[in-house]
Amino acid sequence: MSTPTPTPARLRVRAVAFAVLATVILVGPVYGHFLATGSHRYLGWKMFSRKATDFCAVDYWTPTADGGRQPLDRFESLGYPRDRAPADLWKVRDLRAAKVIGAKMCRRLGGDVDVRADVRCATADGWVDAAAGEATLCR
């Protein structure tokens, strides 16, 4: 199928349409990437900016007599097989959830156990330290 040779008027319309659309395609994302606020911040081509910003990396540990650290497995401590643990234990949402899990570990482990946690939370700006085992979670 072929098209008839375009008239000068049709070519002008095409040229204007092309220029406008090309500008929107190339320059339009400036708004979402640099100028927008609120939910409009996600306009533009920011494919990974919102992914994986809803959880923390957590290491539970207990101090040893020589001033070292003994790692604690939260799944083992709470009696869950790793592959069948609740989702909020597998992926700890925030510092508050990390403290709640730590407190449960204290109750399960019993005695005068001292459970502490290093917590680093994922944000759009990278990892942010939320706790570095400063205090026991067993209270």
Binding site: M1, W45, A52
Partner: protein, 290 residues
């Protein structure tokens, strides 16, 4: 050559309609892949508006796929996706319908309506050939304006360019963001035991940004396509296999057709069908860069 002259050269350019036809077929299949399940009739909790929009997008994209009134049914498909994004995504706050892969699909289909996408490999073409035969004329040539295809190529370039700009941050280039993205899928809140995980993430993050900046520009060079296309296929294939990117990879695969030199693609398909030498698909000096 002035900017205006270049602009008129682009909108005056004609070429084979086969790359636009490949885009039409590829994007129609991606539309089905993305929306067929969400809008199927068996979701009893969906109100009638879902069914109406679902029927619209699926009927339109089926007609787009077979190439019946191709530009019109492609426009219908694009407007149906726009209605889904605006009414269900923005209006009803169905955030899954506001993802970038849906926006990209919508924009690509709407731009495709500006191309002669029914000029080849379509019912439209079949009917045109039948009409020509009945009138005792040779089949009309499969040629049409290329400016709409250029806009689709520009859109794919813009996705790479802005994706790279968005990742040009300390958080991404240090590997922090990639670590979090992988951990969220594979290890949850546990630091991976893979030796060198942090270093691998830093290397992967930097390589991704470099590749995206490069692809944004390099895909326009026709003679580099024989090795750039496999690069794009591997890059998006890896993303598709390891991360939840939905139909984004499949859409990017389909959009690659916008960079194919139109006439070389035409000759290549002829050669595949046994109507020309097998090396006919190689771009010649006459095949301009996209």
């Amino acid at each position: 050559m002035s900017l205006t002259d270049r602009l008129y050269a682009v909108v005056s350019e004609e070429g084979s309609t086969r790359p636009a036809a490949l885009l039409r077929i590829g994007l129609a299949l991606v539309v089905w892949s993305r929306f067929a399940f969400d809008f199927a009739a068996f979701h009893r909790d969906h109100p009638w508006t879902w069914s109406a929009l679902g029927a619209s997008v699926l009927v339109a994209s089926t007609l787009m796929l077979v190439g019946w009134r191709s530009r019109l049914t492609t426009l219908w498909t694009g407007l149906s996706i726009a209605a889904i994004v605006l009414y269900l995504g923005v209006g009803q706050r169905q955030y899954a319908l506001l993802h970038h892969h849906v926006s990209l699909l919508m924009i690509a289909v709407l731009l495709l309506a500006l191309t002669p996408c029914g000029g080849s490999l379509s019912l439209d073409r079949w009917r045109a050939v039948q009409r020509a035969r009945a009138a005792g004329r040779p089949p009309p040539p499969e040629r049409g304006p290329q400016w709409g295809v250029r806009l689709i190529a520009l859109q794919m370039s813009a996705v790479y360019l802005w994706g790279a700009i968005d990742k040009t941050t300390v958080a991404w280039l240090s590997g922090d963001r990639l670590q979090a993205i992988l951990m969220a899928q594979y290890t949850g809140s546990d630091w991976p035991t893979l030796p060198g995980f942090a270093a691998l993430c830093t290397a992967g993050a930097v390589a991704t940004v470099v590749l995206e900046y490069f692809l944004a520009v390099a895909l326009w060079r026709a003679r580099w396509l024989p090795w750039l296309i496999p690069t794009v296929v591997v890059f998006h294939g890896v993303l598709y296999f390891f991360l939840p990117v939905a139909t984004f990879s499949a859409t990017m695969y389909a959009l690659l057709a916008a960079f194919l030199p139109a006439d070389a693609t035409h000759r290549g398909i002829d050669a595949l069908l046994g109507h020309g030498p097998l090396d006919a698909a190689a771009p010649t000096p006459q095949d301009a860069d996209a």
